[in-house]
Symmetry: C2
Subunit: 368 residues, 2 copies
C-alpha cells in the first residue's frame, strides 16, 4: 500500500502509472506511451524526480502546472521535441517574476500525467501527488484550479520549433482556452502549455489529491491481473469501485479533428448482459456521454472508461475501431468536480447538452 510520504519515481513505476493514467483519461488526454519512454530515458541517464504529498511544501511556495495541449490524434503522429512544457514554464517564470518550487499535473488522465514528470526531471523539481481534474478533460479551464479561482495569466505555450507565445493578460480562463487553443492549432495541434504560478496553500485546497498514486495503483492492478491471467476488467472494477455499464462491439466510429479537438461518436452493439441493446458514446477528446438504448447512463463530469474486453487495455478514442469489443465502466468523479461552481464548467451543459441533467454515479465497493 502506498502512503502519503515523499517517494522518488522509479523506472518500474512508469509502466503502471501510464496504464492507470490512460484509464483515468476516459478515452482522451492523449496516449502516455511516448511521454513514458521519454521519462524512462531521462531516469536511465540519471535524472530523478520526487513525488510529494500536498502537505510537503510551505504555503508560499509557487507551483507550476504544465501539460500538452492539442488533438490527441495528432500527438500520436507528430512527436513533441521534448522540452515544449519546459520552455513554456520558463516563459511563465519570466513573465511572472516567480520561480516554481514544484510542478503539478493539469490532468492525471492520459499523456498529461507524464508531461510534468518529464518537465520536472529537466528542471530539477519535484511533482505533487495530485492534479486539477482527477481524470482528463478537453479544455484548459476545466480544472479545479480554474474553477476555484486560479489566475489565468501569465500563461505560455511553446511548440517543437522554438516558438513561445505568452498570454500576458487574459480576461478569464475561457479567454485563455480560446487563445491557447487557437495558438496550439497554429502550432500544428501539439504544444506545451504552462499556466500561472499558484501558491501552495491554494493548490493544497483545490487539487484533486493523491491521483498520481491512484494511477500507479490502478496500473499495478492491471499488470498483476494480466500476470495472473485474471479478468482485468473485474480487477479494475474491484480496485477502483467502478461499475460496469455496457459490453459490446463497435459497429460505427466517426472521428474528425475540428478546432484543435478530436470530436466524434462511437456506436456499440451490445453483447453478454447487454445483448440486443445499443450503446452510443459522444467524444470531445474524452468520452462525454454514454447512452444505452437512447437513455443517458453516464455523463460528464463522471468518468466513462472503455476497456478492451479481452485484455483490459484502456482504449483511447483515437484507437477505437470497427469490430473492437469493449467494456464500458463508469467511475464517480471527485466531489470537487460536482459543486455548483464546477458544474458550470464541466457539467453536461458546458459540453453542449442543455437537456441532460447530471445524475452522479455512486462508488461501488472497493477491494484492493
Amino acid at each position: 500500500m502506498l502512503n502519503d510520504a515523499r517517494f522518488p519515481l522509479q523506472e518500474s513505476d512508469l509502466l503502471p502509472m501510464s496504464i492507470g493514467a490512460a484509464l483515468l483519461g476516459t478515452g482522451g488526454g492523449g496516449n502516455p506511451y511516448i511521454g513514458m519512454l521519454r521519462c524512462r530515458e531521462l531516469l536511465r541517464k540519471g535524472a530523478t524526480v520526487d513525488i510529494l504529498p500536498l502537505d510537503a511544501l510551505p504555503d508560499d511556495a509557487w507551483i507550476g502546472e504544465v501539460g500538452g495541449i492539442g488533438a490527441p490524434v495528432v500527438g500520436v503522429e507528430k512527436f513533441e521535441q521534448g522540452e515544449e512544457c519546459l520552455r513554456a514554464m520558463r516563459a511563465v517564470e519570466e513573465a511572472s517574476g516567480k520561480r516554481m518550487s514544484a510542478l503539478i499535473c493539469a490532468e492525471i488522465g492520459g499523456a498529461n500525467s507524464m508531461e510534468p514528470l518529464l518537465t520536472a526531471m529537466q528542471a530539477g523539481l519535484p511533482v505533487l501527488d495530485g492534479d486539477g481534474m482527477g481524470r482528463a478533460f478537453p479544455e484548459v479551464q476545466m480544472t479545479t484550479f480554474f474553477i476555484y479561482g486560479a489566475d489565468a495569466a501569465p500563461a505560455a505555450i511553446a511548440d517543437d520549433k522554438g516558438n513561445v507565445v505568452v498570454f500576458r493578460h487574459v480576461q478569464d480562463m475561457y479567454w485563455l482556452e480560446r487563445f491557447a487553443r487557437d495558438t496550439s492549432v497554429a502550432m500544428g495541434a501539439a504544444a506545451g502549455l504552462a499556466i500561472a504560478p499558484m501558491r501552495m496553500d491554494f493548490v493544497r485546497r483545490t487539487a484533486v489529491p493523491r491521483t498520481m498514486t491512484q494511477a500507479l495503483q490502478i496500473g499495478r492492478t492491471v499488470l498483476d491481473a494480466r500476470a495472473k491471467r485474471q479478468d482485468v476488467v473485474d480487477r479494475v472494477i474491484a480496485t477502483t469501485g467502478a461499475t460496469l455499464f455496457f459490453t459490446g462491439k463497435i459497429t460505427d466510429i466517426q472521428r474528425r479533428t475540428e478546432g484543435g479537438f478530436a470530436r466524434g461518436e462511437a456506436l456499440i452493439e451490445g453483447s453478454g448482459d447487454w445483448a440486443g441493446s445499443d450503446g452510443r458514446i459522444a467524444i470531445q477528446n474524452e468520452n462525454l456521454v454514454l447512452w444505452v438504448d437512447g437513455k443517458p447512463v453516464i455523463m460528464v463530469p463522471d468518468l466513462i472508461i472503455n476497456l478492451d474486453l479481452e485484455t483490459g487495455e484502456p482504449l483511447t478514442t483515437e484507437v477505437l475501431r470497427y469490430g473492437q469489443r469493449l467494456a464500458v465502466i463508469g467511475l464517480p468523479v471527485h466531489d470537487m468536480m460536482k459543486t455548483p461552481e464546477a458544474m458550470k464548467v464541466v457539467g453536461p451543459q458546458a459540453f453542449g447538452y442543455p437537456d441532460l441533467k447530471f445524475t452522479p454515479l455512486t462508488l461501488g465497493p472497493m477491494r484492493a
Copy 2:
C-alpha cells in the same frame, strides 16, 4: 512646401493626412476616420506629437512599430477601445527590456497611419516621418523592416478587453503573421500589434522615407482641388505622378471575411476612354491586381488606387458597392519594395499568382 525638419502635428493636418493615407491604402489598411477623430480629441485635450525626420535620433535609439491588425470591414463596426497599441507596445517593452524613443508606422496606408500618432500621444513619444510599406499590405511580414531583417520577436497583440498576448520567441516573420493573425481573429478580428524594438540606424536604412509628409501633401491637394472645384482625380495624378488606368462602373462586388482577411473581387464596366472594356480587381484587404479585358495592367507591389469618379474620394474595399463609378489609378511602389528580397514577400507570387510576372509601373510627371 514641407521640409525635412521636425514639426508638431497640428489639428489641421489630421484631415488631409487621413485622406492621403486612405489613398495610399490602395483600398485597404482600414478607414483612418475613427483614428483621426481619436487623434483630434487628444490634440484638443492638450496632447502633442512631433513628426521627426529619419535623421533626428541617434543610431542606438529604439524605435517601436505599432498598428492595428484585423479585417478592415470589422474595424468599421467594432470600434477599438483606443489603447490597444499602447498596451501592446508596453508588453513589448517589458518582454524586451527596452524603452522606445519614437514610433513609426508599419504602413502609411489607411488606419495604420493614425495608430502610431495616437499611441505616441498617449505615451509622450514622437513619430518618425516614414513607414514600412509606403502603402498598405495585408500581412505582418510585408514591411521593409521584416524584408531587410528586423527581429520577429518579441512582439505583442492587445485587444479592447484587456487581453495581451506576447509572441516571445517566433521562428520568423511568417510565424509571427500566423500567430498574430489567428490571435487577432480570436480577439474579434480587430486588435493592436506592436513589433520588436528596432535600432534607429536600421530604421533609417530600411524605412520608406517621408511618407507621412507624402500623405499630408496628397490630402492637401485633394482638399485644395475640392475647394477650387477642380477635377480631383486629375490633381491627384498631377501631384503624385500616378497614371489613370481605367474608369467605369462597378457591376459586381464579392466580399467575404476569411481567416481574418477581407477577400473578394470587383468587376467594373468601362466608361469614357474605356467604354466597352471590362475591368476586374482582386482584393485581399488591399487591391492586388487590376485586369483590363483579361490582361493584368497593375499588380502588387505597385499601388492600385480606386477614386470616386466625381468626388475623388479614395474608395476602400469595404465601401465599394454596385453601381459606384470610379477611376483606377496606378502608382509605382518605392524601390525598396522591388528588390529580389522584397519580391519574394510582396510580389504577385507571394499573393498566390504564380503566373503573373511583375512589370513595374513608371512614374509620370509630377506637378505640385
